[in-house]
């Protein structure tokens, strides 16, 4: 458990220093833990656990947009679990139940828990369709068509800088829509 969390902290430090691959690996590594916590939270609130993926994606977006609030001298796991807990409580509350989430639930996920394959979620996709055309195009190109920023720029005759701006604005807008829907 300690080892896993130290590894996360190391990956996040590299990510903040500009290592995109480390960031990708970190997000992949934390996702099964978040998924297990979301399923448990939903089950305990008497909700169907099949909505867990929506919550996982909301947590990942929040982690991404708020990562500057992580102190690189501090361990990553407590920060991650605090974000996850807040988003989980929000999500459950929106689903009509006030519920308390124990932070230990997140930390205690067994390392042996079977990593689930990636799953699709409806809410992000629904909100994606309400974004302005340009942001939607860029997000879809990078997310769904796995295009790089460079390829996306070429495809839409945009500069790479403009693609980056549209990508970031799109992710921020998506998060705001998920929060308020």
């Amino acid at each position: 458990m300690r080892g896993r969390e130290d590894e996360w902290t190391g990956l996040m430090r590299s990510a903040m220093a500009g290592d995109d691959a480390a960031y990708h690996r970190l997000l992949k590594a934390v996702t099964p833990v978040l998924r297990a916590a979301a399923r448990r939270g939903l089950t305990r609130a008497g909700q169907p656990p099949d909505q867990a993926e929506d919550i996982v994606q909301e947590i990942l977006l929040a982690v991404h947009l708020k990562r500057h609030t992580w102190d690189s001298e501090a361990p990553f796991a407590p920060w991650l679990f605090a974000i996850a807990r807040n988003k989980l409580i929000d999500a459950l509350r929106r689903r009509g139940r006030r519920i308390f989430v124990n932070i230990d639930d997140l930390a205690e996920t067994l390392p042996g828990e079977a990593p689930q394959e990636t799953a699709s979620a409806g809410e992000v996709t629904t909100q994606l369709n309400t974004l302005p055309q340009r942001q939607r195009d860029v997000l879809q190109s990078i997310a769904v068509d796995s295009a790089s920023i460079k390829d996306t720029a070429a495809k839409f005759a945009m500069s790479e800088g403009a693609v980056r701006v549209a990508l970031h604005r799109g992710l921020a807008a998506l998060t705001a829509k998920l929060r308020n829907h």
């Binding site: 990510a15 500009g18 995109d20 691959a21 960031y23 990708h24 997000l27 992949k28 996702t31 993926e53 996982v56 994606q57 990942l60 977006l61 929040a62 991404h64 947009l65 708020k66 990562r67 500057h68 609030t69 992580w70 102190d71 501090a74 407590p78 920060w79 679990f81 605090a82 974000i83 807990r85 807040n86 929000d90 990636t118 799953a119 699709s120 979620a121 992000v124 996709t125 994606l128 997000l139 990078i142 997310a143 769904v144 796995s146 790089s148 920023i149 980056r164 990508l167 970031h168 992710l171 998060t175 929060r179």
Partner: protein, 212 residues
């Protein structure tokens, strides 16, 4: 969109670096400050006997009290902008202005009273105090909330209340240079009521706008 696709998209956006919350809080307050100062200059202004007032320790004490509210509130609000941060271990900082006021009230009580207690308490400016501090606070509160929105507070209402405290502390610092009521009893009463009102507004607005 499946989660792997989302993760890939987030990784593609990794190069984008957001400024620190402290930088945006500073920006928000600096943008708002001219508005508050404009309100001060238009309706209040520095009291005319300021040079002689500076020799009065109770005049100086007002600034110690208001700044000992504003500065700790800024520090705690930044601390709480991290999601895993707890109030525990930090709340005592907010007792600083309370302690200072208690000492000031005690020392005033030991001196031969220049005025009866009720006059010191009610003063000449209680109504001005109750409207001027909140009025000058509001731009600062908006600026503080703008900056703190950039954080990830786990308790948005609490962070909003701290934004209220810090803006009221700064506004009260301006107001203290105008007001001729220097008795700590006056400060403890009217400044506190004005600050509480701004803090309540901060908590209500914060609970909405500081969610992330």
């Amino acid at each position: 969109m499946d989660t792997d696709q989302l993760i890939r998209t987030l990784a593609a956006d990794n190069a984008r670096h957001a400024p620190r919350v402290g930088a945006l809080l500073t920006t928000g307050l600096l943008v708002a400050a001219p508005l508050s100062i404009l309100i001060f200059a238009t309706f209040l202004g520095v009291r005319s006997d300021v040079m002689s007032a500076m020799h009065n320790p109770f005049f100086d004490m007002k600034f110690a009290v208001t700044l000992s509210l504003a500065i700790p509130a800024i520090i705690i609000s930044l601390h709480l902008s991290r999601p895993e941060a707890l109030m525990r271990g930090w709340g005592w900082l907010l007792l600083l202005p309370v302690g200072l006021l208690a000492v000031a009230i005690g020392s005033e009580a030991m001196m031969a009273p220049a005025m009866p207690m009720t006059m010191r308490l009610v003063g000449k400016n209680s109504r001005a105090c109750l409207s001027a501090i909140p009025a000058m606070s509001l731009p600062l509160l908006a600026g503080a909330l703008f900056g703190l929105r950039h954080g990830a507070p786990s308790r948005p209402a609490l962070s909003g209340a701290l934004a209220g405290l810090l803006s009221a502390g700064l506004a009260a610092t301006l107001y203290a240079s105008h007001c001729t009521d220097d008795s700590p009893l006056f400060v403890a009463t009217w400044y506190t009521i004005a600050t509480a009102a701004v803090t309540a507004i901060g908590a209500v607005v914060g609970s909405k706008v500081l969610r992330y």
